[in-house]
């Protein structure tokens, strides 16, 4: 008996590995195909400057999507990331411009604002048992309202802090290697992705996120304090929104209090295209990064080709549906 078990288990495990690899490969090859298509269609698409533009355009949505990935892996959802990002940007503006605090303090204030909002969402979900959709919907509105109230419905500018814009648009690498002036935004995106991949793959927090998403009850019964870990995961997601808030404030050299609506859906789309399952239990950071890149590459390429924007929405929508459908087929085949 034992031998047959082992015999059946071995190929199953191998096909599972192959299937995961196939999913990652699928998203990656989709990105490559889109890239090749646009490169052939327009010589302006493949210029180094434009590729840098695409990467910079991915930065804010990509970082938001990193945070959402953790939440979706637990089979939860976070609708508040866009407006929490805006609230964090506003708080950074209050700290740096209104209070005249140093930029690093402003960055910490932004990160803490995001983390606090995420923590509150997490407590509502884990302790008060409010469904994630509702709790984060509430947080989305609360953050939006507070952004407007705190800013007095006015943008906060960073004109008195000339270095602030350089957080995103300066180039530390360009200063070291002349002629390779890739904006910091790109490295912040990749750096944040590495941190996220480390947390998901190598820490207890990441392991428990996957476990909670696979089977919350079983995880609880095996002695894990699910409520605490869930709260921590939402707080982590909030921290990424806070980082995105600092990033968007730097890029626009201002905290724009009316921004943020719709950003949560774009982030969720990136996560889903990247192969993270909305039913929880699995997902990768690399997939999310590729998903975010697919969205911004499409946006940029279709603009370069002057395709009417209405169609761009249709195309992105079709890709989201296709990505999820392929995921379902893959599961059924397992």
């Amino acid at each position: 008996m034992a031998t047959t078990d082992a015999a059946t288990a071995a190929p199953k495990k191998r096909s599972l590995l192959r299937a995961d690899a196939a999913q990652k490969l699928l998203a990656f090859s989709a990105l490559i195909l889109i890239f090749i298509f646009f490169s052939l269609a327009s010589p302006f698409f493949r210029t180094p400057d434009n590729i840098s533009s695409i990467l910079v355009a991915t930065a804010v949505n990509g970082v938001l999507a990193l945070g959402v990935t953790f939440v979706i892996i637990t089979a939860g959802i976070d609708l508040s990331v866009g407006t929490v990002m805006t609230l964090s940007a506003v708080m950074t503006g209050v700290a740096v411009t209104n209070q005249g605090l140093p930029v690093p303090v402003g960055i910490v204030v932004g990160l803490l604002t995001g983390t606090t909002a995420g923590l509150l969402s997490g407590l509502m979900i884990a302790r008060m048992k409010i469904p994630p959709f509702i709790a984060t919907l509430g947080m989305m509105m609360i953050a939006r309202g507070l952004s407007l109230v705190i800013s007095g419905v006015k943008p906060i500018y960073f004109n008195d802090t000339p270095g602030f814009r350089d957080i995103m648009m300066g180039s530390v690498v360009g200063a070291v290697i002349p002629g390779f002036s890739v904006p910091n935004a790109v490295f912040i995106l990749f750096g944040a992705s590495l941190v996220a991949a480390f947390i998901l793959g190598k820490t207890v927090l990441g392991r428990y996120a996957v476990a909670i998403g696979s089977n919350e009850e079983a995880t609880r019964l095996s002695g894990v304090n699910v409520a605490n870990w869930k709260t921590a995961i939402y707080a982590l997601g909030g921290a990424f929104s806070g980082l995105a808030g600092v990033m968007i404030a730097s890029r626009l050299n201002s905290a724009q209090p009316a921004l943020g609506i719709g950003y949560e859906l774009e982030a969720i789309a990136a996560v889903v295209i990247g192969g993270t399952s909305l039913s929880g239990g699995e997902g990768t950071i690399l997939g999310t990064l590729i998903g975010a890149l697919i969205i911004s590459t499409l946006t940029n390429g279709l603009r370069i080709l002057s395709v009417p924007q209405e169609w761009q929405m249709v195309i992105t929508g079709v890709i989201v549906v296709l990505a999820v459908y392929l995921d379902i087929i893959r599961r059924r085949g397992r």
Binding site: S42, F44, F45, T47, D49, N50, S53, V56, A57, V60, L120, L123, M124, R127, M128, I142, G145, L146, L148, V149, V153, K154, P155, Y157, N159, M169, P183, I248, R251, L252, N253, S254, Q256, P257, A258, L259, I261, S296, T299, N300, R303, I304, L305, S306, Q309
Partner: protein
């Protein structure tokens, strides 16, 4: 249990803070809805000031804040009560419908109204008409016979002026791109068509390469404009049809290091745009008179209450401004930060 308590305290604090802030905002205006709800439609009762709800298309943008300031000024000058409200985005037709419905239910002396979608509002406007409540349109106004007057910028003529200035600055030939806030609102359509039609009529050598829509979102507008500039290395000019759009164009030009190589023309004002014009990154912009729009619509409403006849169209004017006249007495009061 302990975390529960902490959480409840935190939530309670949030709610209290939000409520306090929410109450503080209307209190700062000249509103007094409680006494105004019973104001007679004729407004002749001296005991209660006539109540005029002003329902705009938004409140978050600096432009609407300037309109609000103008209407509050008129309310103070003309001794009436107003409330100023608007939906969060210009796509929220249903929300504005509810606001108008609630305003009519209070039986006010008159209503100032800028429709996000005129056709959707017709039933309510008919209701107001039967109840004898005068309607005054402002900004995009109302596409119907019901409003007694509309205080607005002639956006088509204003955008045509932008087109003329653009043609002049690029030597009447070359590629120009256009970034608009949306393809459905009256102002979006009028500014786009006013610009494009004027170019087609008077400046046939100017080629329009792209018309894009950035929803007035500064970040999206930046990335859109970047792609367009990358795709057209010989682009000579860029027109942004509202504040959010033009900030996107300015960011894109800056990020690509093309300052001074592309003639940038904008719309409205705001601190970033004013700075860009002073620094030379932006050639100039069209400004409306938002304070005037707010003032004139309330003024027209008061005239309507007093039974005076009104001109159907109250042109609140528009002006071209650039580095040379930005600090002039004529322009400076029209600009908001």
């Amino acid at each position: 249990m302990k975390t529960h308590k902490v959480l409840f305290v935190l939530m309670a604090m949030l709610v209290v803070f939000a409520l306090a802030a929410g109450c503080a905002a209307p209190a700062a205006t000249t509103t007094d809805t409680s006494s105004a709800t019973t104001a007679p439609a004729t407004g002749s009762d001296a005991a209660a000031k006539p109540y005029i709800p002003v329902i705009s298309k938004g409140f978050q943008h600096q432009f609407w804040q300037a309109v609000k300031a103008g209407s509050e000024q008129a309310a103070a000058d003309l001794n009436v009560d107003i409330t100023f409200e608007g939906p969060e985005t210009e796509a929220m037709v249903d929300k504005q419908y509810e606001m108008l419905q609630a305003a009519i239910a209070k039986n006010p002396a008159a209503i100032c109204f800028a429709a996000v979608d005129s056709k959707a509002m017709v039933p309510l406007l008919e209701e107001a008409k039967t109840k004898g409540i005068p309607i005054i349109g402002f900004d995009s106004g109302v596409d119907s016979d019901i409003p007694l007057a509309t205080a607005a910028t002639d956006n088509i003529a204003a955008a045509a002026l932008a087109a003329d200035k653009m043609a002049e600055l690029i030597g009447d030939s070359g590629k120009v791109a256009v970034l608009v806030h949306d393809q459905t609102s009256r102002t979006g359509i009028d500014r786009r068509d006013g610009f494009l039609n004027r170019m087609a009529e008077a400046h046939p050598n100017v080629e329009i390469v792209n018309v894009d829509y950035g929803a007035g979102d500064q970040l999206k507008s930046t990335d859109l404009a970047k792609a367009v500039i990358q795709a057209n290395p010989d682009l000579k000019g860029y027109f942004g049809a509202n504040e959010g759009s033009i900030i996107g164009v300015l960011n894109a030009v800056k990020e690509l290091g093309k300052e001074g190589q592309i003639v940038v023309i904008g719309y409205d004002s705001g601190q970033q745009q004013i700075d860009a014009i002073n620094s030379g990154a932006e050639a100039g912009a069209i400004t409306q008179n938002p304070v005037g729009i707010g003032y004139k619509c309330v003024e027209a409403a008061v005239k309507a209450i007093n039974g005076e006849t009104l001109d159907k169209v109250i042109d609140t004017g528009f002006f071209w401004y650039d580095k040379t006249n930005i600090d002039s007495d004529q322009i400076k009061p029209l600009l908001y930060q």
